[in-house]
């Protein structure tokens, strides 16, 4: 545990409201995880309501023969007239026949929770019978919000990572990292097969969090520049390539919503967690790398210049956002990191709404947020956990922020009232990690500002008749 030095966070104001807010159901994680884990099949065991959400929220992806489906519960399932086991077995056999995946992930929903379907108990039996691993994740709306769905899946999956004893040959061990293959992609051969001595001596490091493959490559190379070798990613491109995890290995998170995965890695796999800010924005990326280096006793090289250069290249966007205020309604748990980055960009943040605030897992991020505010001379934001959207809309009317980052339920109504908005969901699907992608974050943040400034002179920014009390 390197969480030893607890940062001072008592100056940030934390609040907790009613929890009446809009967010995506955590089962939405199947949409990006099935794409990330190429040999997986996600089976969401729930009702028409879950299916309707997935089909509408994921838009056209549904037509690309997705490797996910609903096991739609019918009245006879609810009243236990049918055997859960027999029903699931029938569906799993059909999936095996049609798709032959390397793993089936059962996503438990509100309904399976309420009728207390023992998925964790059924899975090992089914697994033995059909011969395909079955991972159970309870990503339901009773307990979790949006991106936390990924957290529940990874927390379940970390149990399936092999130890080095399980893995016979050294070659297989290398492959499990998937790193060789990644670095091979589009690079010169000699670059990849460079001698091992390129890396400094340090304990094993595994990164957890699902990010698109280009980000995996970028972050792996970024660490390689410091002589740090990434031994694997949780999740990997394929289920069969899950990384090797041994007792005492180091792990670091890449996303702020992975509390349960972090806990699982520490408690169940006896790994050591590196508590760092998240590599979102050049400031976050630098802090993330520096923290990993410091844990391994490595002196980081060239990071300061690297960061400065990125900031310089962002100047055109920074000129747009500087001095503007941004309000986070909160729905995907990326809020603290994004707010910290935007404060560094020169924005002010009156309020950060967030579904769930793990002050331990996000400690380093919170400390960096506080430090950034002090450095930039801006007031500390109020952090509202489990926000109440109605109350937030009242505050937005009062504060009149230059930009509101919010879900799609509120975006159009706010725009019609002359308030600039950015859909928060886009931050979840865009590539936002690492040095190179800071521009993408600002591209998203400035888009409404740029669009609306080009419409500004037309004089119709308020498009509702009466001043409705929201």
């Amino acid at each position: 545990m390197t969480l030893a030095q607890q940062p001072q966070t008592q100056n940030l104001e934390f609040d907790c409201d009613s929890g009446n807010y809009h967010t995506f159901c955590p089962i939405s994680c199947v949409a990006w995880l099935y794409q990330k884990i190429e040999d997986s099949f996600f089976l969401v065991i729930g009702t028409k309501t879950c299916g309707y959400f997935l089909q509408n929220a994921m838009g056209v992806m549904i037509f690309a023969e997705p490797r996910y489906a609903m096991a739609e519960l019918e009245e006879a399932d609810i009243s236990a007239q049918l055997s859960d086991y027999a029903e699931l077995k029938r569906l799993c056999e059909q999936i095996k026949r049609d798709r032959n995946p390397s793993v089936i992930v059962f996503i438990g929903t509100c309904t399976t929770e309420i009728i207390k379907m023992d998925l964790e108990g059924l899975a090992p039996k089914l697994e033995a019978e059909i011969g395909i691993p079955i991972v159970v994740a309870r990503a339901n709306g009773l307990d979790y919000a949006f991106t936390q769905g990924e957290d529940t899946v990874l927390a379940a999956m970390l149990q399936r990572c092999p130890t080095s004893e399980d893995v016979a040959s050294e070659t297989e061990k290398e492959e499990r990292g998937g790193i060789q293959k990644l670095l091979n992609f589009g690079r010169k051969k000699d670059d990849v097969s460079s001698p091992v001595s390129d890396y400094k001596e340090h304990p094993n490091l595994v990164i957890f969090g699902s990010v698109p493959d280009p980000i995996v490559t970028q972050m792996t190379l970024e660490l390689k520049k410091q002589g740090i070798k990434v031994n694997g990613w949780l999740p990997a491109k394929r289920y069969t390539e899950l990384p090797v995890l041994d007792e005492g290995d180091y792990v670091v998170g890449i996303n702020p919503f992975l509390s349960r995965t972090a806990t699982g890695l520490m408690r169940r796999r006896k790994c050591k967690l590196i508590g760092a800010p998240f590599p979102i924005g050049p400031d976050g990326t630098r802090a993330w790398i520096e923290k990993i280096c410091s844990v391994f006793g490595i002196e980081p090289e060239g990071l300061e210049e690297r960061e400065a250069k990125i900031w310089e290249s962002l100047e055109d966007y920074l000129a747009i956002v500087r001095g503007k205020s941004v309000y986070f309604m909160g729905d995907n748990l990326l809020e603290i990191s994004l707010a910290r980055f935007l404060v560094r960009c020169g924005m002010t943040v009156p309020e950060i709404g967030i579904p769930y605030m793990d002050k331990r897992y996000q400690a380093a991020e919170l400390a960096l947020l506080e430090k950034t505010c002090r450095d930039m001379g801006t007031p500390l934001p109020k952090i509202t956990e489990k926000p109440d959207n109605y109350n937030q809309l009242q505050r937005i009317q009062e504060l009149k922020p230059d930009l509101v980052i919010t879900g799609m339920a509120h975006a159009n109504p706010l725009e019609a009232r002359g308030i600039n908005t950015k859909w928060s969901v886009e931050f979840t699907f865009a590539q936002i990690h690492g040095f190179a992608n800071a521009r993408d974050i600002l591209e998203l943040v400035t888009r409404p500002l740029r669009r609306n400034s080009s419409l500004h002179d037309l004089g119709w920014d308020k498009l509702v008749k009466e001043e409705v009390s929201v």
Partner: protein
């Protein structure tokens, strides 16, 4: 359990929310876990709604699971009453509350004591009805509630209006082109000299409901939402109902004649025949279109139709009866309404498919290989994969099916719109003809993007050239027919002769 990748009709609560948010100043509170308020996103995005969707959730979380909702639902209702001052709050059960079996009716009663507004529990069961059935039921429930109350209070006027008047029932939010149909129907009624007493539920207030019995009759344009309400009004106030969807020239005329009959029975003495004739022959362009030489090229072309009962039935009739198109298959996902659908379309198509399984209809389309599909967004994607054009005629739909421009499907302007949709979906007539003469756009190599299986049959060079001359969109079918013919006769090589023999054999 059912393995499902896609569904046509949504869960029951969506139907209730569509009704509640269609009314003005009605708020819905869902008894649901976090994330089930996805309806707000759909309404805000698809309809590009400027106002906040009047739907909130009373969140079911772990605590509710352990202890029950207790005061939570009541508090949320009372709070919303204070904040928004709605006329009515509809407590909406979801799949979750269906299993929790909390006494929601009791919450409603308790909340009514503290709230200024009326409070109702939507009487829908997630596991028994779908979105459309729930919408129909909820509308009827709200109407009955307010009419019974007015009756009790004695402020219900059942006296008919002086001039002929109508209630248009079933226009809702997130309905397929409902807002445009609304305008078109009001215009049509105006042309017929009929006053619109009330449009329900879209933009109506609950206070308007007590006006309902004053209309001379009810018009229910859609099969899915409204019939229950009309049936209730018929039973209680003996108000006649017209359930002919005025979609297409023939059906619009039939609808107007039905109106004429009802009005005359009540002593109006109207004659709409001249109006129908004028509209059909000179105002609407649909009748003239089907007579024009361009439409000749559509004669006998194969089409598949799939959608909700209303639109699939009407479309089938328009294609077959008004345009001479060969509807091979007509289908609907409204399984609960199967008898009606069969009755409507059986004489206009070869085959009927009643199914909620998108795979079943996709397989049918692949085997039939029609020249065009008229279906939902799902069929549009099937068409994309098979390279068959598709016109979207029913929900489920995407944002592009909520056009800003005026696009009704009903009435005389609607028939014009449908003509454009149908015509643009088929390959343009002359283009089609020229392609056939000149052997298609692409003479370089065979495109074997077909659904037929690879085979070891050998095509001679000349036969390949000949196959190339077949226009792209039927090439796959010709190839398959020829190969099937060759296999049946044990020909290992396909030359031009075999090809033409095959063509003659299938009479193509």
């Amino acid at each position: 359990m059912k393995l499902a990748y896609w569904m046509y009709a949504g869960p029951a609560h969506i139907g209730t929310l569509r009704i509640a948010s269609s009314f003005k100043n009605v708020h819905a509170i869902m008894h649901a876990p976090l994330g089930d308020d996805y309806f707000n996103v759909m309404r805000s995005m698809l309809e590009r709604e400027r106002d906040f969707t009047p739907v909130t959730a009373s969140i079911v979380d772990r605590n509710v699971l352990a202890q029950g909702s207790q005061e939570k639902v009541v508090d949320n209702i009372v709070r919303k009453d204070h904040e928004e001052h709605p006329d009515l709050i509809v407590l909406t059960p979801t799949c979750t509350s269906s299993i929790l079996q909390e006494d929601l009716q009791n919450f409603v009663q308790r909340a009514s004591l503290d709230a200024q507004c009326d409070v109702l529990l939507a009487d829908v069961n997630h596991y028994r009805v779908n979105e459309l059935q729930a919408a129909d039921r909820t509308l009827q429930q709200i109407v009955q509630f307010y009419l019974e109350r007015a009756q009790k209070k004695g402020n219900l006027s059942t006296e008919k209006t002086a001039r002929p008047s109508v209630n248009i029932i079933g226009i809702t939010t997130l309905g397929f082109h409902n807002n445009h149909d609304r305008t078109e129907l009001i215009k049509l009624m105006g042309d017929l000299g009929i006053d619109v007493n009330l449009v329900l539920p879209d933009q109506a207030t609950v206070d308007d409901i007590k006006k309902l019995p004053q209309a001379w009759f009810n018009l229910v344009p859609y099969r899915e939402v409204g019939p229950s309400t009309a049936a209730y009004l018929k039973e209680t106030f003996d108000q006649p109902c017209i359930d002919v969807t005025p979609m297409g020239v023939v059906e619009t005329a039939r609808c107007i004649r039905a109106i004429q009959k009802i009005l005359n029975a009540q002593g109006a003495a109207v004659d709409y025949e001249a109006f129908i004739d004028e509209q059909t022959r000179f105002v609407s362009n649909a009748a003239w279109f089907s007579r024009s030489i361009d439409c000749q090229n559509l004669t006998g072309k194969k089409a598949v139709v799939f959608g909700d009962s209303t639109h699939a039935a009407a479309m089938t009739k328009i294609l077959a009866r008004e345009m001479g198109i060969h509807v091979v298959l007509a289908g609907t996902y409204c399984k609960y309404d199967e008898a009606w659908f069969r009755d409507q379309v059986s004489e206009y198509c070869d085959e009927i498919l009643i199914s909620e399984d998108n795979g079943a209809i996709a397989d049918k389309i692949a085997t039939i290989e029609p020249a065009a599909i008229f279906g939902t967004q799902m069929e549009r994607h099937v068409g994309k994969r098979l390279d068959i054009p598709c016109g979207v005629i029913a929900v489920p739909i995407h944002i592009q099916n909520f056009p800003v421009g005026y696009r009704p499907f009903l009435g005389y302007e609607g028939s014009n719109q449908i003509v454009d949709l149908v015509y643009n979906s088929f390959t343009l007539g002359m283009e089609d003809h020229l392609l056939e003469i000149f052997g298609g756009h692409d003479t370089k190599e065979v495109i074997t993007k077909t659904v037929s299986a690879d085979s070891e049959l050998v095509w001679s060079k000349e036969a390949l050239v000949e196959l190339n001359r077949v226009p792209g969109f039927v090439r796959g079918k010709v190839k398959r027919n020829t190969e099937k013919f060759a296999r049946d006769r044990n020909c290992s090589e396909i030359d031009v002769e075999v090809m033409y023999a095959a063509k003659e054999a299938v009479g193509a």
